[in-house]
Structures are given as structure tokens and as C-alpha cells.
């Protein structure tokens, strides 16, 4: 019977599909080969129209996009050349006209002609770019998450003379409607915003709308936070007036779904801005290109001068000037040493002048630096009664920030506690409370989220260090942080003045470069930790005695201590270190046990004993 329907079998369908796919593949490969040949020969005629359909089939061939960019740039330089010659011609014509009897009409006419001609050339280029934008938008429909297509579009926009930003935002709206979490598109939107300086309020409104649709959208929250920062800096609004509303918004999100991490990140950011007041310092400290000296420490006994900057630098921008010979530097200035290997916030030198002096002068020398130096010359007096002199120029923002407990309103804290009581197993609420309430939440977190226990332990260590720094006697060269559960050391730059540090009975696992900041440390006690490893970069220039008793070191560990050039004695009782060590070690290794008291008595210098 005719016309009766029959259903194709799966095998038939698959065969059809396979043949179609093979055909497409062959076609694509041939096109690709041709495009590469053309590029090699420099034969760019029709290259744009040849590569376009290839990119429509597979938008992720970045080589083809590169090829197109080459062609467009070449075209652009041709256009510019043309324009220049035209202007030259025009001016030539004009000068000729000057000589000739004046004929205003014809002059105007030729001017107009030239103008329209150059407009036309310019137009040609804009049309080329428009076509390029059209191509990228059809490629994006094919793959809305293609890195190279979004990049190409951004490039075209920057290359164009008159880009239409409104249309770009419409495009973003369209793609974010299809997938509100397409971070490629959010990136592009931020690029457009930075490039075109869009209306901040409209953009804020947009992020809010997206968050209301689905608050599980980190891109939108992040964009919102950066818009607020920008608006505050540009004076569009005062973020302090908006903080409460934003907190309310994010509070609603975390109560609706406390397991979603995106709003918690925004919550954390809001807390860090401290009701909006710190929003600038937060942004500035990251973005500023200026470097400035935070403090200078001078140790009289060792004649060591230490400078601490607010940012890491590749070399110390200052030289020490002998005040009496300021204008004629006689001796070559002494060499600065970095606390770390190269980049460091902390630099030290051994002071070259033997004779007594009343002040130290630092002068910025013409070293090539990628920063601006705030003060080109600094002078500070030396107090000869103190053994160690600390002179602060600027507060450590990070440390200060940590000193301030994050504050919330009473009912906001009560709500958070209520949420914790309802969701005791939720790590985010515990983490938020840990930053405003107390450290006990961190202990809970280690049980709740054991995968990140090291992070929580480090956070706890940070709190411990802050507490220690807050309460320490700033004149004392002795630091004792015994059995505090430390897993690492924070804010070493606030501890530079110490010459004796006891970190025994903690949870340290590694002697890392973080300790290198303790430039003046002479006696370092690390008994009863979990140290298995001494980092290659570990280096303390003044260190004389280190006690590593009852740790988990092995025989290889000791040689890494070689970099501490003044090291005399190492106590290694209670480790897995064999007796016969073939390596040559320039310090004495003591296998016998020694108590901390004995250590203090044996190695304490006068100034230490004075404090004991």
C-alpha cells in the first residue's frame, strides 16, 4: 500500500547521522587546511569569508580568530594610511589654493569631498567590525561559554571607533536570560561596564533582579559588591547608607538556603566592610600603586636595620645615608637582604657605621621600581637607651583590621545564632559566627568539615597570633606562645623585635619561610610540635640556638638549617635522627635532652635574662 507510514529503525537513523557527521567533518578539515595555507602565504583575500563558516561550525578554533585579528589590524592600518595621505593631499590642495586666486566655492567643495571620502574609508572599517560582532554573536549562540569568542568580541569593541555599548548590554541581558550563571558573560558585562562607564544604579538594579531570580549566583553578587565599591569611590552613593539594606538582602538568602555558598561570600564581604566604613581602605589597599614604609627597626647590639613596607617589593627602594656626609656618600652603601628569597615586605642590612649617631636617614635612590614611593627621604631619631628601636610610620592595615572584631547589630547576631541553632551542621553560619562571635565555632567547624580542618586550624592560629600581639609587651624581646594550638605563624612583621621565641607544644608541622620575618630572633624553641620538614627557604640571619626536641624530623632535615649563618647549636632530642651524620654541618647537634629553663639560662643574653 502506498502512502502508509513506516518508522525508520534506530540503525537507519544512526547510519544517516553518522554519514552526515563524517561529511561535515571532512568539509571542516578541508576548510581549515585552506585557511592555514592562506595565512602562511599571506594571501588574505576572502580569508574573512572563508573562516567565518568554519568558526560557525566550531567557534573554539582560536587560531582562526587570531588570523582574523591580523587581517582586521592590517585593514585598519591601511585605512589610517589612506586617511593620512588624504589629509596630506588636502593640505597640499589647500596650500596650492592659497597661491591661486581665491575661489571660495571650489575650495569648500573639495574640502567636503575629502571629508566624505575619509568618512567613507572610516565607515568601511566600522562595517567590517560590525560584521565581526555579528559573527561572534552567532558563534556565541552556538557556544555561549566560548572563551575565545567572548575575547574576540571584547577585542573588536576596543578596536572600533564608535562601539555601541547599549547593544552590548542587551546582548549580555539576552545571554544571562538563557543562563544566569554564565560567568563568561558576566566577565564580559564587567568589561563593558569598565570600558564604557555605564550607569551604576542601573547595573545595581540588574544584579538585584538576577539575584532575586536565583540567588545561587556568585557572579551577580560579586558584580554587585564591585559596583558598590566603585560607586562609593566615585561618589555616586555612600555605601554606609546602603549597608543595612544589603545585609537584609543577604540575610534573607542565607536563611532561605543556608547551604548555598554564593550569598555567604557576599555576607563575608559585607562584614569586612564594617558597615560600609571600610569599603575604601579595602579597595585601596588592593589597587593602589603606591608603596610606603610602615616601620623601621634598629637593633643596637647587632647593628641591624630592618625596614617593613606595606607591600612586597623586589628590592629595597631606600639607601642609608650617613647624616654627616649626606652630600658625598663615601663608602658604598651596604647591601639589603630580603627576608624571603626576592619579593618581600621586609628588608634588612647590617649597619655600616661604627661611630655613634643620633639619627638614621633613609633616602630613596633611583632604583627602577614598578611602584611609586610615598616618601623619598625619611629621617628618624635614634634613642640610645633602648636596645631595640622600633619606629612606626604607618599602621599595618591588615593587622588593624584583624584587631577590630567584626561587628553586627544585636538582632543580626541573634538571628545568626538562631540560624546556627536551627542548622547546627551548617558550616557557613558557624564560619560567619566565628568571625564575629568567638573561636569555639572554629572547633565545631573542624568536626563539621574535616576536609578543611587545616584551614580552620590556621584561622585559629591567626586569632591566637592577633591576641598575642594585642597583649604583648612591645618592649620585651621575649615571646612565649606555648601550647596555643598554633599550626602556623601570622603577622611575623609585628614580632620582628623578638630575640627569644618559645613556640613549644603547638601543632606546627613545617618550619616554613613565614618564620623568616623574625630577623632578630636568636633563640627559637619549637619543642613538642609535629615538625616533619624544614623548608628549603628557611633562613634566620641572627639565629644562634634552635631547639627542635620531640618533633618528627629525620636525618635529612638538619642540612636545611645551613642557611642560618649564625646558628651554633641545635637540640634534636626525641627525633628520628641517626647518630652518624655524614653531612658536614657547621653547628653543634645536641642529642641530649634539655629543659626550656636551662635553654633560657644558657642562651639568654643579658637583655633576655633581664626580662625572665
Amino acid at each position: 500500500m502506498h502512502g502508509r507510514l513506516k518508522v525508520k529503525t534506530t540503525a537507519e537513523k544512526e547510519r544517516e547521522k553518522r554519514i552526515e557527521k563524517e561529511e561535515k567533518c571532512k568539509h571542516f578539515k578541508a576548510g581549515l587546511d585552506k585557511a592555514f595555507q592562506m595565512r602562511e602565504k599571506g594571501d588574505n583575500q576572502n580569508a574573512l569569508s572563508l573562516t567565518a563558516p568554519l568558526l560557525m561550525t566550531n567557534p573554539d578554533v582560536y587560531t582562526l580568530w587570531n588570523y582574523r585579528r591580523e587581517i582586521i589590524l592590517e585593514f585598519k592600518s591601511q585605512v589610517q594610511c589612506k586617511l593620512e595621505t588624504e589629509t596630506v593631499e588636502t593640505s597640499k590642495n589647500n596650500s596650492e589654493n592659497d597661491v591661486k586666486p581665491k575661489d571660495d566655492n571650489s575650495n569648500d567643495l573639495s574640502d567636503d569631498m575629502n571629508k566624505s571620502k575619509s568618512d567613507e574609508t572610516q565607515n568601511e572599517f566600522e562595517i567590517l567590525c560590525e560584521n565581526e560582532l555579528e559573527l561572534t554573536s552567532s558563534c556565541l549562540l552556538k557556544n555561549p561559554k566560548s572563551y575565545c569568542v567572548w575575547h574576540h568580541r571584547a577585542w573588536v569593541l576596543q578596536t572600533m571607533e564608535k562601539p555601541n555599548f547599549k547593544r552590548e548590554i542587551m546582548l549580555c541581558n539576552q545571554f544571562l536570560e538563557m543562563d544566569e550563571r554564565n560567568f563568561h558573560c558576566w566577565d564580559y558585562r564587567r568589561f563593558i561596564h569598565d570600558f564604557a562607564k555605564l550607569d551604576i544604579n542601573e547595573e545595581l538594579q540588574y544584579t538585584l533582579r538576577k539575584i532575586e531570580q536565583n540567588f545561587s549566583n556568585f557572579s551577580s553578587w560579586y558584580y554587585r559588591s564591585s559596583l558598590f565599591t566603585e560607586a562609593h569611590i566615585r561618589g555616586v552613593l555612600n555605601f554606609c547608607d546602603h549597608w543595612e539594606k544589603e545585609y537584609n538582602l543577604v540575610e534573607n538568602a542565607v536563611f532561605t538556603d543556608p547551604n548555598d555558598q554564593s550569598p555567604w561570600f557576599y555576607h563575608k564581604w559585607l562584614l569586612a566592610t564594617n558597615h560600609g566604613e571600610n569599603i575604601i581602605s579595602f579597595a585601596e589597599s588592593i589597587e593602589s600603586n603606591e608603596i610606603s614604609l610602615q616601620k623601621v627597626i634598629y637593633d643596637k647590639q647587632n647593628r641591624v636595620l630592618i625596614t617593613v613596607f606595606d607591600k612586597s617589593t623586589i628590592n629595597c627602594p631606600y639607601d642609608v645615608i650617613d647624616i654627616e656626609f649626606e652630600n658625598e656618600v663615601k663608602s658604598p652603601s651596604p647591601q639589603w637582604f630580603s627576608a624571603l628569597n626576592d619579593y618581600s615586605r621586609i628588608w634588612h642590612l647590617t649597619f655600616p657605621f661604627q661611630k655613634p649617631f643620633q639619627s638614621i636617614t633613609l633616602k630613596c635612590t633611583n632604583k627602577e621600581l614598578p611602584y611609586e614611593i610615598r616618601d623619598s627621604k625619611l629621617l628618624f631619631p635614634v634613642d640610645f637607651t633602648a636596645d631595640t628601636l622600633v619606629h612606626s610610620f604607618k599602621d599595618n592595615d591588615l593587622l588593624n583590621d584583624s584587631f577590630e572584631r567584626k561587628s553586627l547589630k544585636k538582632d543580626q547576631i541573634l538571628n545568626l545564632r538562631c540560624l546556627r541553632d536551627m542548622e547546627p551542621d551548617n558550616k557557613w553560619v558557624n564560619l560567619a559566627l566565628a568571625s564575629i562571635d568567638n573561636l569555639d565555632n572554629l572547633k565545631d567547624l573542624i568536626n563539621l568539615d574535616p576536609i578543611r580542618r587545616n584551614y580552620y586550624n590556621d584561622q585559629k592560629s591567626k586569632e591566637m597570633c592577633i591576641n598575642f600581639i594585642k597583649t604583648m609587651d612591645k618592649c620585651s624581646p621575649i615571646g612565649v606562645m606555648k601550647s596555643r594550638g598554633l599550626t602556623c605563624l601570622y603577622f611575623g612583621d609585628a614580632l620582628i623585635h623578638l630575640s627569644f621565641l618559645d613556640l613549644s607544644q603547638n601543632g606546627l608541622q613545617k618550619l616554613s619561610v613565614a618564620f623568616n620575618e623574625l630577623i632578630l630572633l636568636e633563640t627559637f624553641i619549637l619543642d613538642e610540635n609535629q615538625i616533619t620538614n624544614i623548608s628549603e627557604g628557611f633562613r634566620l640571619p641572627m639565629l644562634k640556638v634552635i631547639s627542635l626536641q620531640n618533633n618528627r624530623l629525620n636525618s635529612k632535615s638538619l642540612s636545611t638549617l645551613n642557611k642560618c649563618s649564625n646558628l651554633r647549636t641545635v637540640y634534636i632530642f626525641g627525633n628520628e635522627i641517626g647518630e652518624n651524620n655524614e653531612q658536614k654541618i657547621p653547628f653543634e647537634v645536641v642529642q641530649e635532652e634539655i629543659s626550656v629553663q636551662d635553654l633560657q639560662l644558657t642562651y639568654g643574653s643579658n637583655k633576655i635574662i633581664q626580662y625572665l
Binding site: 502506498h2 538571628n415 540560624l419 536551627m422
Partner: protein, 528 residues
């Protein structure tokens, strides 16, 4: 037109259940003749235009005398007898239609009449927009994971239909006598301004707990037979949240047992998050599209369709088995006969049928019962109170799903009837929702047109000791939201008739279909 003389199956009535049976039979290769006495598809499940529903109301009130002619008995052989089809069972009655729309004002003063006309919906203007209306005789919502969605997807019939999610669920607050939005997605809960953050957490927690079946069954222990409200109280849910859950989620009375209520809760939750913000979807152009989609599949697989055609007689043999039907004086042999109750001869049915009566109303208004800044379709359940005897389902649709012109809304109400008087049952609902005061500044919309009617529901699914064999009577629409009852009845009829055949397997897409002639050409080419 002369029809074939023999069909495997004759179906009378193009309602949802009949159409599913017809489609399923044709899909597995049975020959199907599908008739309907009406001039439109859908029978009691149809969607009608504005003029059609006006006519429909009028016709119900003035029973048209049957002009059917009795078939000629001379054609019958000795062993056959004929069933008279002149009087059918009536399911819809008590219809009253009220037209509230303004009458066209005669333009005597020479003022511009158009200005007034644009703002006001006169009867003439409604009639002008006749084709923009699709008014459901049987309004329905589809659960996103309900049986109708399943069957449409499974059978590939969904390709004939378009849907939109219901945009909002509402809840009627007794105290303030106002409608409020029910948050039913995570995004709704997040942006809801009426409930506190703590309430939000409690609500989300409760919902998540309900999704985890094993967990919730433990918590239900001891509450199964107790009222649902008590269970909700034990979960620290505030009064507002309790109302949300009872009326909008579980859709039960507050004294319903927890066990029964949880069935509704589970059904609701399992349909969330599939298509839109709410768990429901609505067919564009009215729910009358659904029976038509099944008819279309039936036709694609060879089914024959005749509207405005009813049976003149049914011929049964000595065993009381249906052998032929007579329509338009043509005698057609058939193996099986399926008829909708309203197109079934009275004499085929038992003397006494037990039935329940539903009250239904259709309101056309000039605005939404809860105005919003975008096109919405809304649904809510009004709990019984001093004015309403039984809980009423209310569905408001409009231009959002293309069933009414812009600015006009259709509101359907239905409930179990207490005294078989639809108007008495549902007028109190209208008074809650619409403005009857004629004042200019009421916030409620004004009624333009309304109609009330009662509908008998008879459960025919067990086929009450049918007098004749090989014939099935199909129940009219029952008081449900989705099509669960209709589908299970259709499935049951199908599997009784064709026990070895698959029920609505996936229909192929057009590109998967080859016609025999093409195949022949291809094989000939291959041979050369």
C-alpha cells in the same frame, strides 16, 4: 460521505478520556471511527469562543428536540436487536447566564463614541473579540510531574501542544479578606516580604523534610490520623505558613488527616522545579486543546473523524454483544464501542445511577482579582467558611495563555455542590472577588459576563454491570485538578479491549517517518 464498513473501534464523544482511548487504539494499528454529536471537539472538555459559549448556555436552557430518525429495522437479521439512541443521558443542567457588560451607547450627542468604547467592554466589543476567547468547559491545571505530562511526553503527543507555567499561586487570608502570593520556589521564598527570615528557614526546612520520604515518615508517626493542622503546629510553622501549606500546597481542609494531606504535599513538591516557578503548567489556547491533540495523533495513525454526527442505533447480537453501529443510515461493523456518558443512550444505562453534583462557574471580568504589573495566570483554593459550603478551586487566566483579549480575564470556579444550585454555591465567591457596587474606585475588578451550571459526575469506570458487551461508557469530568482519573479510566478501557498492546508508545517525529512509496523508489534505485 460514505465511511468504511468496518472498524475495530467506534468512539462516540471527543472528550479527553474518549480521545485518549481513540489515540491509543489507532497508535497500535487499530482502525478507529471517532464521532461527536457536537460541531466542535472536546464534548464536555471543550474550549469555546465567546459566542459559542453563549449559544451553548442557550441550548442547555431550551432543550432541542431530537430530530433523529429511528433506523430502519428491516435491515436487521433475525438474531440482531437494535438499541434506540434517541434519548441520551444529560450531565449538565441548571445553567444560568448573566450578562453584566455595558450596552452600546447610542451616539446621539455627537461626542466621540470611540473614546468610551476603548475603555469599556460592551457586549458588542466582547463579541467582536469572539475568536480571542477560549473558554474552558472543564478548566484544568497540569502537575509538572503529573500523569498527563507523563503521557504527553511518553507518547510524543506533546509536539502538538504548547504550554506555559502557571505564574502564581495565591492564598486568601480570611482576616484581611485579601489575596496574597504563595512563595513556592526558593526564589519566591527569598524575595517574599511578608514572612520573616526565621519563618523562611522554618518553611524551607519543612519543605525539604517533606521531600525526604524516609525522614518524613518517621516524623509523621503518631500524627497520621490526627488533623493536618496539628502536625503543622508541631513543626513550629506560624499561622500564615500553616494557611499556605494547607490551602496552597496540600489543598485540603484543615481537619483532613495528616496522612491524606501529605499525599497532596508530596504531589505538589514532586512537581516543583520542573518547568516554572509553580508546580503547574497550563495549555495555551485553553484545555480544549488537550483532547484535540489526542484526536490528532489518532488521525495521523489513520483514525477517521466525523463531527456533528451521532449514533442512530446500536446493533447487538443474541449475546448482547455490540456488532454494528448505525450512523447516518450507514451500518458499520465494529468490534468495540466506547461512548461518553453524555452521548450514551439512556436505555443502555442502569435505571438508577449514583452520582455527585459539581457546581461550576465561568466569570469574565475587566481585570485580575489581584492586579500585577505583568500578565499572570493564577490559581488558589478558597477554604470553606460561613459563606462557602465546600472548598472552591479558583483559576484565573487571560492573555498570558492566549485565552482572552488583553485586559480581560476569565475566572473559573468549581466545587462540590451542596444543594445542586451552582449559582447559590458560587455567587458568594464572586462577591469576594469582584466588585458589585458599581462604584468607580473599587480595587476589585468588575464582572462583564458570567455563567453558572451544575454537572453530574458519574463514576463509570467499573462499568456498572453493563447490559451489553464490548461497549464501554466513559465518565464525565470529575472534580480534580489534573487528568489522573481520566487517564486511568482510558488506560483501563484500552487494556480491557487490547490486553496485549502497549498503551501509547512514543509516536515518531516526522523526520523518522518514511512512506512506503519512497522506500520502493529507493530500493529500485539501489538495484540499478
Amino acid at each position: 460521505m460514505e465511511l468504511d464498513d468496518h472498524f475495530d473501534l467506534v468512539v462516540v464523544g471527543t472528550g479527553v478520556t474518549e480521545s485518549i482511548v481513540a489515540a491509543a487504539a489507532a497508535r497500535v494499528g487499530k482502525s478507529v471511527l471517532h464521532l461527536d454529536a457536537n460541531d466542535h471537539y472536546g464534548n464536555e472538555w471543550a474550549s469555546l469562543s465567546f459566542s459559542q459559549i453563549n449559544e451553548w448556555c442557550k441550548r442547555l436552557n431550551h432543550a432541542v428536540s431530537s430530530d433523529q430518525t429511528m433506523p430502519d429495522h428491516s435491515e436487521l437479521s433475525g438474531e440482531e436487536s437494535i438499541i434506540d439512541c434517541s434519548e441520551n443521558f444529560v450531565t449538565i443542567f441548571n445553567c444560568s447566564m448573566i450578562d453584566y457588560s455595558l450596552k452600546e451607547q447610542r451616539d446621539d450627542d455627537g461626542e466621540n463614541p470611540n473614546e468610551n468604547r476603548d475603555r469599556q467592554w460592551t457586549f458588542e466589543k466582547l463579541t467582536e473579540n469572539d475568536r480571542r476567547f477560549s473558554i474552558d468547559l472543564c478548566p484544568r491545571l497540569l502537575f509538572s510531574r503529573g500523569s498527563m505530562v507523563d503521557i504527553l511526553v511518553q507518547s510524543n503527543i506533546s509536539r502538538y501542544l504548547e504550554f506555559k507555567p502557571l505564574t502564581r499561586l495565591l492564598s486568601y487570608l480570611k482576616e484581611s479578606r485579601e489575596l496574597i502570593d504563595v512563595p513556592c520556589s526558593r526564589a519566591d521564598v527569598f524575595s517574599n516580604k511578608l514572612i520573616s527570615v526565621i519563618e523562611k528557614r522554618i518553611l524551607m526546612r519543612f519543605m525539604t523534610e517533606c521531600i525526604d520520604q524516609t525522614n518524613i515518615s518517621q516524623q509523621l508517626e503518631g500524627f497520621e490520623e490526627r488533623p493536618f493542622k496539628e502536625f503543622l503546629k508541631s513543626k513550629d510553622l506560624s499561622e500564615v505558613l500553616q494557611q499556605f501549606i494547607i490551602n496552597a500546597v496540600a489543598m485540603v481542609d484543615e481537619n483532613e488527616t495528616t496522612e491524606n494531606a501529605m499525599v497532596g504535599v508530596n504531589r505538589f513538591l514532586s512537581s516543583l522545579g520542573r518547568f516554572g516557578n509553580t508546580p503547574f503548567i497550563l495549555p495555551l489556547y485553553g484545555s480544549g486543546e488537550i483532547p484535540q491533540a489526542f484526536c490528532r495523533l489518532c488521525a495521523v495513525f489513520g483514525g477517521t473523524y466525523c463531527l456533528k454526527r451521532s449514533l442512530n442505533g446500536i446493533i447487538v447480537d443474541t449475546n448482547s454483544k455490540v456488532t454494528h453501529v448505525i450512523t447516518n443510515n450507514q451500518r458499520i461493523k465494529c468490534e468495540y464501542l466506547v461512548t461518553s456518558l453524555s452521548q450514551t443512550p439512556k436505555c443502555m444505562l442502569p435505571e438508577k445511577l449514583s452520582y455527585t453534583v459539581l457546581s461550576k462557574a465561568v466569570f469574565i471580568s475587566n481585570g485580575s482579582v489581584k492586579p500585577s504589573n505583568k500578565e499572570e495566570s493564577s490559581f488558589f483554593r478558597l477554604a470553606a467558611d460561613e459563606e462557602i459550603d465546600h472548598a472552591v478551586y479558583v483559576l484565573e487566566v487571560g492573555n498570558d495563555i492566549h485565552v482572552a483579549p488583553k485586559g480581560v480575564f476569565i475566572v473559573y470556579c468549581w466545587c462540590l455542590s451542596k444543594n445542586e444550585d451552582a449559582k447559590k454555591d458560587l455567587l458568594p465567591v464572586a462577591k469576594k472577588l469582584f466588585d458589585f457596587s458599581c462604584s468607580e474606585n473599587s480595587s476589585k475588578p468588575k464582572l462583564l459576563w458570567s455563567c453558572y451550571y451544575n454537572q453530574k459526575f458519574v463514576d463509570c469506570s467499573n462499568n456498572f454491570e453493563m447490559k451489553i458487551k464490548s461497549a464501554f461508557v466513559v465518565s464525565p469530568p470529575m472534580n480534580e485538578l489534573d487528568y489522573d482519573f481520566a487517564i486511568s479510566e482510558a488506560r483501563q478501557i484500552f487494556s480491557t479491549m487490547f490486553p496485549d498492546s502497549e498503551f501509547l508508545p512514543r509516536a515518531p517525529d516526522p523526520d523518522e517517518i518514511v512512506f512506503d512509496d519512497l522506500l520502493v523508489d529507493a530500493s529500485e534505485n539501489a538495484m540499478h
